[in-house]
């Protein structure tokens, strides 16, 4: 005769300790997210909210007026992201590599100085750069004039062909500190023994960076890429602060965030349409989800993590 195995004790403490985070996260993230998705299946007709299925999405992608704006915003957003990947992240990595060099003096000062813009408000950054680049009061024309390059100056923020790139570079200026810090931390965590072992084999200087350090910080670069992707496709503030909700000139700086804002809350005589706005927000969510999935399943799993 065998006694039945003792009933496993309910481990309440797990639920109790998880509860605060789960509740707060559900209230401020999960519930609004699903409610937004739900809202996108409705429309308001005669003061009443009615269920219309996928009609909002049909309008968004099928109606020439809407789809043109949507694809324009998506294309602009992609360009915004490409600039960040091509400019912000390589510069961030380069800065981190320079900062981690033991021979550099005042590295703490540089580190802070480069990181400071990250903690500034978008409004301040947008306004400050608008002033710097202003053709009337700005210092940009004067500075270019001083080095004899005045002909290079153009009212960048007012030209359709330059405005988006200019704003993307302003955003790069603001956020270059983040990849720098993450890579810097990754570089510091590389044990000296590995580098010394490499030195014994004759790998020093730049080739040590390319052959030893870079492979070791690849996981961090992956994380930075995905953070940049999510951040850029959720971006809104800088464009709104610098160019307003109409994202001028002629919608050349319109990204998904400003398009969503304009639709959701309305603008000037255009009344807000929360349901159509939710449809755009849902489309943004799906785009980001797809991007993150591609990264997770396509890249993350192939990156090798080295344990020291």
């Amino acid at each position: 005769m065998s006694t039945p195995p003792p009933k496993p004790k309910t481990r309440w403490h797990i639920a109790v300790f998880l509860a605060p985070a789960v509740l707060v996260y559900t209230a401020v993230m999960i519930y609004p997210l699903f409610n937004t998705l739900r809202l996108s299946f409705y429309a308001e007709v005669d003061q009443e909210r009615i269920f219309i299925g996928l009609d909002n999405f049909r309008t968004l992608f099928g109606d020439a007026l809407w789809s043109e704006q949507f694809w324009n915003a998506l294309a602009n957003n992609t360009w915004f992201f490409v600039i960040h990947m091509l400019v912000q992240n390589p510069i961030g990595i380069a800065l981190a590599a320079i900062l981690s060099s033991p021979r550099l003096r005042f590295s703490a000062l540089y580190r802070s100085a480069i990181f400071v813009p990250t903690i500034l408000s978008f409004v301040i950054v947008g306004f400050a750069w608008k002033l710097i680049l202003s053709p009337i009061w700005g210092i940009a024309p004067g500075m270019l004039d001083a080095i004899g390059l005045k002909f290079l100056y153009a009212p960048w923020l007012g030209k359709e062909e330059y405005a988006l790139t200019t704003l993307a570079l302003v955003s790069v200026w603001q956020f270059v500190g983040i990849p720098m810090m993450l890579i810097y931390a990754a570089l510091l965590s590389i044990p000296d023994e590995i580098l010394e072992a490499g030195e014994c084999d004759g790998i020093t200087g730049l080739s040590a960076f390319w052959k030893i350090k870079l492979p070791l910080i690849l996981p961090s670069i992956g994380i930075i890429s995905i953070l940049t992707f999510v951040g850029n496709f959720n971006a809104f503030d800088l464009i709104y602060a610098a160019q307003g909700a109409l994202a001028g000139p002629d919608f050349s700086t319109d990204i998904l965030g400003t398009f969503m804002y304009r639709t959701f809350f309305g603008f000037q005589l255009q009344l807000g349409d929360p349901h159509m706005g939710s449809a755009i927000a849902s489309a943004m969510f799906v785009i980001i989800l797809i991007g993150v999935c591609i990264y997770l399943f396509g890249f993350q799993r192939r990156l090798r993590n080295y344990q020291f």
Binding site: P155, W156, Q243, G266, L269
Partner: protein, 418 residues
């Protein structure tokens, strides 16, 4: 550390004031986007009202203009909005009325003081119900630097040809930017450009109502011709006008660097404070000397009552007072450039404001063409007009193409234009 006691004192007085008010008086709160006018409301308008009607206390609580509509809608939905609501003209307020947030005020004492045009901004499409008391309108025209005109030796233009001759002369002289306007913020091009000079071409109300009725199209000559004039403006704006913002233009003009400023009358009080040269104003130039002139005398601010207000009686008292000539006089003189819409007689002391309001005698008044009914659908005609006006000024789009684009957008949703 030193400000702590002050903060504390402020807190205490606020609490005391609040509790004292609830104890005996009806307390009215006004929602508004005119945060620029805060001091005038607090120092002039509200004391005048409270002196006349003891027992009613009024508080003016403005929010930022760009956020006002969104903030107000959220507050109304949440039931925390003030008793009195400053009304944007046309659809934004009509939507509030339809949603039951604003009360029908057609039977309010003093509503008879307003003409149909004045009430049009805050009435249902059929005109049967008026839900806000019209408070003020703004008039469009051009403000100019008198000293610059004298220095260059140009006369105040009355016709389009004289206007461009003056601009040419100022440009040739070179000491002033002929026209202070930029296209970065877009709305000036439509509001101070297209809708400023346009009424002379589409003959004010005649063209505007014909467009709403579907008898005229945006591709017709009267609606394309203003774009033809705008296309010539670009040459007279300052270097880099593409990135010049609205505050930039204001500053350029008040610093005395530009000669002509395409304006709305709301600029008057700001310009009076900033500019240290003498300013004059001229109305939008007509095509040929002696033509009837038309001005944009746009209904801009109204005030209505929150249907959920707990102080309905007090709110009605306040609104009746707003419709009276006492309010009109204080408001018009404290805020030169915002002209009362009531028929009650008003005397203005500011010469520049008097010049603007004087045009009402000589010219036919109309409102901005895109505001009533026509900006209800998608694409939004007003927003498209901003975009088209900018594109035409920059030379990116021909006037004809702009007209055709706007017409096809409007026809896509507006029945009478199909």
């Amino acid at each position: 550390m030193t400000f702590q006691p002050i903060k504390g004192a402020l807190l205490v007085t606020t609490l005391l004031a609040a509790s004292a008010a609830t104890a005996q008086d009806a307390m009215l709160t006004i929602e508004s986007w005119r945060n620029d006018d805060l001091t005038i409301w607090q120092d002039k308008i509200i004391p005048a009202f409270e002196a006349a009607y003891p027992g009613i206390k009024v508080k003016f609580t403005p929010s930022a203009p760009a956020e006002y509509n969104a903030v107000l809608n959220s507050k109304l939905d949440a039931g925390s909005a003030g008793d009195l609501i400053t009304c944007r003209p046309f659809d934004a307020s009509l939507a509030l009325y339809d949603a039951g947030h604003l009360t029908d005020l057609s039977d309010l004492d003093g509503m008879a003081n307003f003409s149909d045009v004045a009430r049009s901004g805050w009435s249902t499409d059929d005109g049967s119900a008026t839900y806000c008391v019209p408070m003020a309108s703004v008039i469009h025209g051009f403000i100019y630097n008198k000293e610059a005109f004298e220095e260059v030796g140009v006369a105040v233009p009355a016709t389009v040809d004289e206007f461009f001759a003056a601009l040419d002369a100022i440009k040739a002289d070179g000491s002033y930017i002929p026209m202070a306007m930029g296209t970065n913020d877009q709305w000036e091009a439509a509001t101070m450009g297209y809708n400023n000079i346009g009424p002379n071409y589409w003959k004010g109300e005649e063209g505007r109502t014909a467009l709403i009725a579907g008898d005229q199209k945006l591709t017709d000559e009267p609606w394309v011709a203003p774009y033809r004039q705008l296309a010539r403006w670009g040459a007279y704006m300052g270097d880099g006008y593409e990135a010049q913002t609205y505050p930039d233009s204001q500053n350029i003009f008040t610093l005395g660097r530009a000669a002509i400023y395409p304006a709305g009358s709301w600029e008057i009080s700001g310009f009076n404070a900033q500019a240290d040269f003498e300013m004059g104003a001229f109305k939008p130039p007509v095509q040929a000397a002696g033509d009837t002139c038309y001005i944009s005398d746009h209904t801009d601010i109204g005030i209505g009552m929150n249907a959920a207000s707990e102080n309905q009686e007090a709110a009605r008292t306040f609104l009746s007072w707003v419709a009276s000539s006492e309010f009109s006089n204080i408001f018009a003189n404290e805020l030169p450039g915002f002209f009362p819409l009531s028929n009650a007689p008003v005397t203005l002391t500011d010469p520049l404001a008097q010049e603007f309001i004087g045009w009402r005698e000589e010219c036919e008044s109309t409102i901005r063409s895109t505001y009533q009914i026509l900006s209800r659908g998608t694409p939004n005609l007003e927003n498209d007009t901003w975009n088209a006006s900018v594109a035409v000024i920059k030379g990116d789009e021909t006037p004809e193409a702009a007209g055709a684009r706007l017409q096809s957008g409007l026809a896509s949703w507006y029945g009478p234009q199909q």
